[in-house]
Symmetry: C2
Subunit: 256 residues, 2 copies
DNA sequence: ATGTCTTTGTGAACGCGTGCACAAAGATTG
DNA sequence: CAATCTTTGTGCACGCGTTCACAAAGACAT
């Protein structure tokens, strides 16, 4: 998971816990799938299964938003989609800029899930002059020199950093100075930002290293376990194999 | 942040809390940078600043690994790099397969940070027959039909899913059946896996939606705040602007 | 209208993670 | 060797998040 909010001491949003906010998009996705199948209502149990969480947790999460369910029946899908979208500020169609159009930046630019999720790629920015003008995902790449004007002209408040680590802090500083207050960072660096700016990070190698840790532990356990019990592999399924979209959702970041 | 470990009730690794495990790669990166600059020792304070965490937290984290520091001096950089690497199982050079070679899959394949971090791309797999044989990042893409044999022949236990959401569960099932026990999922889907298989997910649109939530809240606060105070922007920096690598680290997932 | 049945909404208990603050440990100096 | 200074390692308290378990609310049938 990408983690790393940056320092928000008091204020506690508006009573909505951070952990709940992080799950709202998950619920929204499951609800959207139901909506497309014209399912009118869902119980907390069903929806929780589709989202891969505990039903009590889901109900508590929703209770922070208000009482949108009907006892004995469940939740109205359309209404809930509306409420969560509103809570997340998605009706707003946020413009975002992507800085660093390498493989990853290009993959992000091609990501189909932007528009349908309330975001719009306002501009692609790269430091390489050779890239300037070259269209990526139908959008011409612009040079870093124009970063400030692009942000101000489009009223961009969310920036995505997909540059090499060495350039990340510098780009970040410029973004913030130009008015960006939320940053999604794909570079493997700790970014330092002023108060009031949110940073979330996505880091491939960290995720892999966490998996490696558990993998190693499993290997160790198995070694000691096989010595005792015959190690019968349980076939129990987690997350309930809910058909999360026969149509499927929009590709992760791009079709294979 | 990519989140989403899957169900590990008791067992608690070996006393090392999950939250600590998630930070070890962060410490390792900071330590590696120091090591390259031939810095012999660091205090918890310095290292914590470089990793962007609280120094007390860092000391507590290290205390789970053992007592590797020297009071009055700090921690021996090389020794700590060794200990954390060992704890994460990185000396092992884990082979990984990437399934779904679209923009994202290609970006991941080109990621320079694999080798230096203890991972090796064993194979690239795609369902499109037209891709078969085509080299990406110097590695020829192989067809999905060979998935099982590739995994078994190479002893792969970690798989990366970068396919469209519709294909993710199916790919996941095949990976698991073939012996993969850790999965990094980039597809926007809830994967269901048997017990004993770890799943971590990275989801762009979820991260953006979380940012949008805070962004919206900031906008609302500002509207009410400007009515009261003149809203002086504080220039306080979080995370301490530690020079996280003048050389910089390897690009996030690819150079821009 | 009354009773039954389903499902929500939440009070309360518990556990994990965080951060403070300080004692213990060792380095260093005279 | 004693005194001082630095920095670790951790006991403790607090707060957030999760889960249980159940009462209240409404749908639905009779």
């Amino acid at each position: 998971m990408a983690t790393g909010r940056t320092h928000r001491p008091a204020t506690r949003s508006r009573g909505i816990p951070e952990a709940t906010v992080a799950r709202l998009p998950l619920y929204l996705r499951a609800l959207t799938a139901l909506s497309e199948r014209s399912v009118p209502t869902v119980s907390s149990e069903e929806l929780a299964a589709a989202a891969g969480v505990n039903s009590a947790k889901l109900r508590k999460d929703f209770s922070y938003l208000g009482s949108y369910g009907t006892r004995g029946v469940g939740y109205d899908v359309e209404y809930l989609v509306y409420q969560i979208s509103r809570e997340l500020g998605l009706p707003q169609d946020w413009p975002v800029v992507i800085v660093g159009i390498g493989n990853l930046g290009a993959a992000l630019a091609n990501y189909g899930g932007f528009a349908s999720r309330g975001f719009r790629v306002a501009a692609l920015i790269d430091a390489d002059p050779a890239m300037a003008g070259k269209p990526v995902a139908g959008i011409p790449v612009q040079h870093t020199d124009e970063l400030e004007s692009i942000i101000q002209d489009n009223g961009v408040s969310i920036g995505v950093i997909a540059t090499p680590a060495g350039a990340a802090q510098q780009v970040c500083d410029r973004l913030v100075a130009a008015g960006v207050t939320s940053i999604l960072n794909f570079a493997p660096t700790v970014l330092s930002v002023p108060d009031g700016v949110d940073v979330r990070k996505v880091d491939l190698s960290i995720e892999l290293q966490i998996l490696a840790f558990h993998e190693q532990r499993k290997a160790g356990e198995e070694a000691t376990a096989t010595a005792e019990s015959p190690a019968v592999p349980t076939a129990t399924r987690t997350e309930s194999a809910t058909d999360q979209g026969p149509d499927g959702d929009v590709p992760a970041v791009m079709p294979a």
